[in-house]
Symmetry: C2
Subunit: 145 residues, 2 copies
């Protein structure tokens, strides 16, 4: 993910955006937390490290990252928006969400991607992104039923 931090910083600079401390901290923290991160989780983690950043700046930075395609909103309907870094290579994953315990596991699937690509070529929209979420019970909850 350090790769992504550099990419993000470069893109911000190139776009004429200042590399302020709060901005950098949010970028690093997002990279650190990885996938499906909420603003609150970032705020908490930042505070843990002693480097306080106002919520407003967190939201403003996340919005900026989203606008620059450096991150993506992958909000899965629990009231709070979730973001994750976007790999410049286009590599990405999707999520399995456990309905019982809320656990989330990422997965990748080549066949699924292929089906989506083909589908994208068949519709009238110019598709440039997609989200897939599978819901069900995780192994732990399954045995604990």
């Amino acid at each position: 993910m350090d790769r992504w931090i550099g990419h993000a910083q470069r893109t911000l600079e190139r776009g004429g955006y200042r590399l302020s401390t709060p901005r950098s901290v949010v970028v690093e923290t997002l990279a650190d937390l990885g996938c499906r991160v909420t603003a609150k989780e970032i705020a908490d983690r930042v505070r843990e490290r002693g480097q306080d950043v106002g919520v407003a700046s967190i939201y403003r930075t996340l919005e900026l990252l989203d606008r620059l395609q450096l991150a993506r909103r992958v909000d899965m309907a629990e009231g709070a928006a979730r973001y994750e870094p976007v790999d410049p290579s286009g590599e990405h994953h999707h999520h399995l969400v456990c309905d019982s315990c809320g656990e989330v596991s990422p997965f990748e699937d080549r066949e699924l991607e292929r089906a989506i690509e083909r589908l994208a070529g068949r519709v009238a929209y110019a598709v440039d992104a997609h989200d897939v979420t599978l819901r069900g019970e995780c192994p732990a909850c399954r045995t604990a039923d």
Copy 2:
């Protein structure tokens, strides 16, 4: 969709839930509005018809429908939760969302469903539902670029 209204009412009754007027009105209105409906849209439509229902009851009914698998939250990240009726046959569709104008079109794709089914058999979770959203530009925005 009348089919669904009956199904929903029967399921509610069978579950020991009262078929109160507000509840029925919400069920009918959800069926009427169809797909990707917000609580506010239901409230507005209900008021149009002269049959006022308190927001609390709308939220409570939607939550109940979701719990009974009669409806599903398909929140696509604009701050408000969206619901849609669940067809008892398992038939369903997904959505294309336009990043420019926000337009949403439903679509169905057999190949995509097959890929997801196969994938579901390959993962450790017991998958029982899935969401797919394709994002991009709708035909109108494409030509207007």
